[in-house]
Each structure stands twice: as C-alpha cells, then as structure tokens.
Symmetry: C2
Subunit: 263 residues, 2 copies
C-alpha cells in the first residue's frame, strides 16, 4: 500500500545556500508571518542565519517518518506536503496539508519523537533548520520565539477546524471546506487569485484528507461540479461560486487568524 512504495527521501540535491537564495526561499514564510504581526529586520536575519540546507523531494517521498527523531526542522519553500498517519489495515489519514511558508516539523523541535509522518504531495523544496540553532533563537529572540510558537498554534487551529468538519459535516461539506481553506491560505500568500489555484493532487490523496473512500470522493466532486461550484479536471481548481461554496461548507476564515496585530 502506502508504506511500501515510498522511501524516506534524503531528498535529491541537498545543497548549501548563499544568502540571497535563502531570502528568496523564505519569502512565503516572511509573508505568512507579516500577515499576522510585524517582523523586524534583525529577526528576519536571525531566521535566515538559522537556515541550513535546501532539499528537494519528489511527490510521494517522505520527509520524515513516525518514530523518527529529527535533529532539524523543515520549512516548505515550494510545493505541497502533508502530515499523515497509517492505520493497521493500511488506510491513510491526512491531518494537515502544508503550503510554502509552512513549517512541517517545527513540532519535532520540542516533541522530539515524531508521532506522525510527513510526505510530499507534489515535488517540493524544503529548507532545514538545525534544532540547536532554533534553541539559540529562543534564547535570544523572545518575540520571534512567540511568532514561531504562533505558527504551531495556527496548525492546531486548522486541526480543530478539520475535527469539527470530520465529526459534524458531510463528506461534500468537508471537501468544499478544504477547497475554501486551500484557496484562502494560498491567496493570502499571493500564490493564488481569481478564485483559482493549482491543486495537483490525486483524488485518492483528497480522500485521505477528508476521511472518505476514493470512490466517494469522486462522487462528491461530481456533485460539486453539477452544482456549478467548482471546475477541477486536470487543470487548476477553479471556484465558480465562492459564496455558495463557502456557505455549503460553513466556511469562516476566523480560524486562520489573518489579522495583523502585536503577538
């Protein structure tokens, strides 16, 4: 099933970085933070200085595995990744989808042992941050520390939103909700506009995200298409009627905390 056919990638093309390149790769990350607070130049330099390598992963590869004890945390610079767990019967459940600017295992910095795996949904580029450098950041930059903490709290907020959907919304509503969430998160980073975004994942992966079978996700998508809410067939995901889609999903972006204020 899933465990068998994807190796833990060391990732192809590990390489050291020059300063201007780091700054480019960190842009989505800075943007994500600047949507929610201010970030001083010194703090930006501190983050850039804590960055180590960039690594490329191919779709399907694992960045880290349940049970690992990574010595570094990973930030997505490009591409889509996901957190997931496998069950006894081989079924898979995603617990988050991560975009450029997201730390995927800042958790391991303090939790130490991974309680879930992280995989690449598409080809992606990652920046690594050695834990010992992150410790130093927390020793010297309290405000920056609070911002990193905030990022993990945002992950928690998204987890809760997914939980509510899983418990109380229909498969169609959850799927619509995920589409809304992906769009708002991408648009806030400047990576999408016009109610349209690239979403190059399989229906099977989408099924694992919303917690249904691949057969059923297919029918759900047909329903969303027939109700003229979306177009998604090989090309980008296009939202035809945002208001209707958001209402169907009971989507409210409060939980994404897209408000700039002192933290």
């Amino acid at each position: 099933m899933w465990a068998a056919d994807c190796s833990v990638g060391k990732g192809s093309g590990t390489m050291a970085m020059i300063t201007s390149e780091i700054d480019d790769l960190l842009q989505p990350f800075f943007r994500k933070i600047l949507l929610r607070d201010e970030l001083g130049m010194e703090e930006q330099r501190a983050i850039a200085a804590a960055a180590d390598q960039q690594i490329h992963f191919s779709a399907g590869e694992d960045l880290v595995r349940e049970g690992d004890r990574p010595m570094r945390s990973m930030l997505v610079a490009s591409g889509f990744t996901c957190r997931y767990r496998l069950l006894a019967d081989g079924e898979r459940q995603l617990t988050a989808i991560h975009l450029p600017g997201d730390f995927v295992d800042l958790h391991s910095f303090l939790l130490k042992e991974m309680d879930h795996s992280v995989g690449a949904l598409t080809d992606c580029t990652i920046i690594t941050f050695p834990h010992e450098r992150l410790v130093k950041v927390t020793e010297r930059y309290p405000h920056l520390t609070r911002l990193l903490w905030l990022l993990t709290l945002l992950d928690g907020a998204v987890h809760r939103e997914w939980l509510v959907g899983m418990g109380r919304l229909s498969a169609t509503q959850r799927t619509a909700h995920l589409i809304c969430e992906m769009y708002i998160r991408l648009e806030s980073l400047g990576l999408a506009n016009d109610r349209r975004f690239g979403f190059p994942i399989t229906q099977a992966a989408l099924a694992d995200a919303v917690g249904i079978s691949t057969v059923h996700v297919n029918r759900v998508l047909q329903e969303l298409r027939h109700r003229a809410l979306i177009v998604w067939d090989g090309g980008p995901m296009q939202i035809l009627d945002w208001a209707a889609l958001a209402e169907a999903a009971e989507f409210d972006d409060l939980y994404l905390h897209l408000v700039q204020e002192p933290r």
Copy 2:
C-alpha cells in the same frame, strides 16, 4: 440547544490566592511538565508568580467563547473542561477534553481571538494567568517558554490523533480510544489507577466528543460492555481488559509524549 442554556460564567467565587494555595493548585501542572522535562525551582516560582486568581465554574458554564479576546489564559486545577464549536444547526463538536494541569486557552495568549469556545464538563477550578505576565515569562525564561510551547504542541498531537480516529476508525473504536486516552492521561498525573477513573460526563457529551449521535453512543457503550471491555454505569469508568480495549482502538500512547528529556 446548547448555546441558549449556558451563560458565560464569570464563574462564582473569584478570589485572590495565597502562595501555598497556588502551589497546591499548580501541582497537576508541574507534574504534567515534570513527566516530560525538568523544571527548576526558579521556573516554578516564575509560574506561580504569574498566576492571578482562582475561579470556580459549574458544569455547563462556558469559560470563554468563540469570538472573545481574553486578556488572560486559564489553567485547569480541578475538574474536566472541553473545547468545542457549535454548527449552524446547533450541533456541537468537541475538539479536546482537558484535565487538571492543562492550559485551556494558552492559545488565546498568541492567537488573540478565540476560534472556539471552552466549556466546563464538570464543576471545576481554574487559575488565571494575565497575558502581560506571560509575555514577561517569555522575555526572561526561554526554557520555560519552550515548555509552555510544548504544552500547546501536545494539544496539537492529541488533535491529530482524534483526526485520524474520526477519519478512519469506527464509532466503537473512537470511543474505546478516548477511554484509553483519558485513562493514560489521568494515570500519568496520579489522578487514576487500577484501570479505573471518575468520568462524570453525559453520554451526550461523549457523543459530541467522538462525533456521533447520542443514540449511537449508547449502542456503542453497550457493545463495549457486552464485549466485557468496560463497566460504566453511574459509577467510575472501569476498564476490564486494557489490552483488548487498546487493541480494538489501535491505541498507542506515543502521541502523548510521556518521555522525560531536555526540551
């Protein structure tokens, strides 16, 4: 339904505390941390000094509501509380159950606006921590800051575990899983032993936690009783066959990170 009959409690009996009383109330909290790292005397004093008031809430009252912007965070000293959200049709979904020693809205410290509500499942006692004092903790005590951060990461880990269950386990498995989780968390704090613990919540609340109807939760409990896995009828929850219950639920306590090591 739910929103109507429970007011936001200011809580009865707000009162200032004397030092020895604070220390008593903080015991479950210290214990929770000491299960996962060391905590110096100075750090313990710093936390105690940041505490402000104690407040009592009655079962059914809300501690904070979605949309609030609290100026303080709350730590449970006794009793059970829950995070939850209400949906358009009045249905409720819990996203976490909190025990003594748990911070229930350390999140609001950085997220600012509450994206969910917190309610008292039983009568409970709370200790409040003004946000401005928590800021000072993060400015002066980096290691303690990391520990507070860790606590919110643990919340996230539990969220993910629930998500996996909601997506891929049956109602019976999720219920069994929650029982296992409650027991291990309570036992680790010294608040339960002998495979038995007080669990004074209604079947309706349990249904809201596992995301099913009250009728179905009743049938699930009967199944667990008939399979001789638990006893739960008015008295404490008693686990008759831990191994079988944990196996049925695919329960593994890794996600609770009950390992003492430097963070």
